[in-house]
Amino acid sequence: MPHLKKSQRNYALFLSCGLLLLVACGKKEASDTSPQKDARDEAKSYYSVNSEFFHFRTPADIPTDLNWENGQHLPEFASPDAVKGGTLNSWIQDFPRTLRTVGPDSNGSFRRWILDNNTMSYASRHPNVTDLTKNGFEYYPGLAEEWALDRANKTVYVRLNPAARWSDGEPITTEDVLFNFFFHRSSYIKAPWYNNFYSTKFSGISRFDDHTFALHFPELRPDIYALALGGSPTPAHAYTELGDDFVDRYQWRFLPTTGPYIVRDSDIDKGRSISLTRNKDWWAQDNKLWRHRYNPDRIRLVVIRDVAKAFEAFRKGDLDYFSLGLAEYWYDKLPDDAPEVAQGYIHKLKFYNDVPRPTYGLWMNQSRPLIENHDIRVGLQHALNWDLVIRKFSRSDWTRMQTSADGYGEFTHPTLRSRTFSIDKALASFAKAGFRERGPDSILVNDQGDRLSVQITTGYAHFKDMLTILQEEAVKAGIDLRLEVLDGTTAWKKVQEKKHDIAFVAFGVGPEMFPRYWETYHSANAYDLAFLEDGSINPNRKVQTQSNNLQIIANAELDKMITAYDKSDNLEEMKQLAYSMEELLREDASFAPGFNIPFMRTGIWRWLGIPTSGNVKISTSFTEYGLYWIDDTAKTETEKARKSGKTFEPAITVFDQYKLE
């Protein structure tokens, strides 16, 4: 058979390529034995060279009139019923490409297990008490024992807890805090984002003694604590070999952490699974607001490449929990009358959280033909039947997004509403733009014979069906939406090149105090030079690529407001500016707000314990705050019951205490 021969040849070719790669790798590693200098010495000389940033002072220099805070008055949110022990079984879709938390490939979905949800920062935002105070959000202590804000000097003083230890037992001192700056500003780590962040967001750091330091800022924003207290140190004693080969050298090293879980070398089974082990000597495990959290002794993450397969593993009991976010899973694949649910083995949880919402909507590129016309944009907004999507695709679970910054509490515009589906309004608006007659396929055409046809680009294959609903409905309003479903990376690349007509994407947002506008709406991110010095539009301006202004909005008035907003240290003023900006953006009509997903849905086996409140207000994933625990007796009991056929009370729980009306 000729086919066989061909494939055999291909195989041989692949094999030899593979061997070549292996040889190449081997060589590289072999040459990596040059003696290393100690990076701590390099850091010291770096501090003296950059003495305008790194200040060494004495405890006598700490102002005496500071108002120290320690967050001890805040209520605990973990359940006192929690018990330590057991193994949590979960899954990851891809094996992590590195155990580093900075540098190339480190920003994968695994990172949250070892960094985002595992690192203890100086202090953390309280996840339930979310009201604004004069210093912003409420923080509870982590590595820091207490902290103070010096408004006049735009400085935050922090005193580390003397008991704080790295997971290897070494004490955490200000040396690690200083080293954190040296590390993240160094070119070794190949992380330009961090280089820039640690160089521009801070104007300096002062060390007073082993446990006291102060961070200086170029401007005092209302959320200054997020920057100052949300950081955490870098273990200087673990990075002694830091150098040009950092990326390779530290690729598979798990370094001492401030958090409760560590990764042991023996638990890394490349390509198959990786396990986290609870540090039983974690210094903070009995501290207020940290106790009763991070309970399982082990967290085992198995690689399962196919979501459908992972779901089957969950139903079998091999995985302890599974996200049931999609309606298909919640209603069809694991309905309330599924045997495991009806017999009470699997509990279903629906938890309404209250966080800034990812911006699922259509981002229209105003630099493109047709879309540059305001009437067409308004018409298009009226041609989008989001209500039908919400009703028939999400089964009325989602809510309509109203502004580009929903979920920011007081910062979200209270009365602004997005445009609703209306064929008449859409047709009237398209008519203003010259599209009056319908062609043979019901799509509007103008006098020149151009069809009213634009393209929607997306990288979200799982929303393809939803977009076809919008597409079919839009035809009724006479506009043809061509769908382009690309793979995630390609779509994002296209959007970053600003080659899209309309992009369906969402920016993920952290639980921040107020929305950001500069990144997405400032003209500096739309054009290289949007306006000339006299304020007129630059006729030769070029679209700015690689920025998040996906609508190519360049509006001098908006720019002014953004600048004022970004400089402001007054919450009330910022709020008013945010409202004005949202009103202007609605008028501009180039962002079509889509939908919000106001909850998390999870299926858990009954041996997984959770607090009676379900979770905390600003959580975005089941495991984020480490509030669950494994009840081993319940596990044995359940396993026996499954064999004997004994059943339990089914539990389908809705936690709607944080639901917004």
């Binding site: 043979p440 079919e472 035809v475 769908l483 080659k499």
Partner: protein, 357 residues
């Protein structure tokens, strides 16, 4: 046109192989029906009689709702209109096709877009095979998916054979250095992994191209990487035929190489080629289905069996009718073509009809 008596005997022999012959008839019938598909599977009626006027909406431009005095200007929703006719009872009527659904229209089931079971399993009316994950009729999608796949593969076959036969014959006829170089080039070319090329290409093609243009590009790419295997057979066959006396006679008579290859040699080598044809069709259908399954095939929302199969694997437990319908349809088509292929191979077997005893 008079056929070579040998060919006539081969065709008779093919007819006598019942399984292959009936498969052939059935497949031709299916193709013929699919050509007129809009008359059988469509959400537009065949005839509408409204206020004494007859409309034939099947082909041609959309009829806006205004045509039937409805209060909208987009395309008429005929199922709604039919209900209206029935309640009004003013002598207006329409004839809907057998399967009154369009392959791209979503219809909701129990108020949401989700798979509906086939009508004989208690699902909504007229969805003979149920609906897929967004509520599109599976029969309609399979039907139009078949039409696209079969014509895609027929054109694919024609193009690969055209190129493969031409290049192969030239190699065999000229031989020598030309043959040597062409063969090396073909070897290099055929080692380029086809799947990767398709994936790379489709991730960069802008979708501003219309649907037919994108399907055309996929076809071209597939042809570009598939014609090579045919050259081997044609090359050897031509080498053999070239040494025969009739070729020498043609050369002596002054015929040019093109005339000799296509008028003299090709008819004598074609029988080997014919036996490959059905299997090429099978390969093309499988390839296009596999590509669709992986998401690199026909652009959405083109109906396709591969796309349905993919949906089916993700909804094995909740909507088993998706995967079973798609699988059964694919097996049926491939089986039909395979039966034809076997019969053709047997009928054209040179051992039975060789002129050399």
């Amino acid at each position: 046109m008079t056929l070579n008596p040998l060919t006539v005997r081969k065709l008779k022999r093919f007819r006598s192989i019942k399984r292959g012959y009936y498969s052939f008839v059935l497949l031709m019938l299916l193709i013929a029906v699919s050509l007129l598909g809009e008359m059988f599977v469509n959400n537009r009626p065949l005839i509408v009689s409204y206020e004494g006027r007859w409309h034939f909406p099947t082909y041609g431009a959309n009829l806006p709702g205004k045509t039937f005095d409805l209060d909208y200007t987009y395309e008429t929703d005929y199922r709604e209109l039919r209900d209206k006719f029935q309640t009004e009872d003013r002598g207006n009527w329409m004839i809907m096709p057998l399967v009154p659904f369009n392959p791209n229209e979503n219809s909701s089931y129990e108020g949401v877009f989700k798979p509906a079971p086939p009508s004989w399993m208690g699902g909504p009316e007229k969805h003979w095979l149920g609906t897929d994950t967004t509520g599109r009729d599976i029969f309609a999608r399979l039907f139009y998916g078949f039409r696209i796949a079969i014509f895609f593969s027929l054109v694919f076959m024609a193009l690969t054979y055209l190129i493969g036969i031409t290049v192969g014959s030239l190699m065999g006829y000229y031989g020598g250095i030309f043959d040597l170089i062409a063969q090396r080039l073909i070897e290099v070319w055929s080692n380029i992994p086809f799947l990767y090329v398709v994936i790379i290409l489709f991730s960069v093609i802008p979708s501003t191209f219309s649907l037919p243009a994108r399907i055309g590009m996929l076809l071209v790419v597939m042809v570009l990487f598939s014609w090579t295997s045919m050259t081997y057979y044609m090359r050897t066959a031509t080498y053999r035929e070239k040494a025969r006396d009739y070729t020498a006679a043609a050369v002596v008579l002054g015929a040019g190489p093109i005339r000799i290859i296509f008028n003299h040699i090709l008819p004598n080598t074609i029988s080997t080629i014919v036996t490959f044809m059905p299997f090429t069709v099978i390969a093309a259908i499988s390839a296009i289905t596999a590509l669709d399954f992986l998401g690199f095939g026909l652009p959405p929302p083109t109906p396709s069996m591969g796309e349905l199969l993919k949906q089916g694997t993700q909804t094995l437990t909740t909507a088993p009718w998706i995967v079973s319908s798609a699988f059964a349809a694919l097996v049926l088509i491939l089986l039909l073509v395979t039966f034809i292929g076997e019969a053709v191979r047997e009928a054209f077997d040179p051992k039975k009809f060789t002129t050399y005893k």
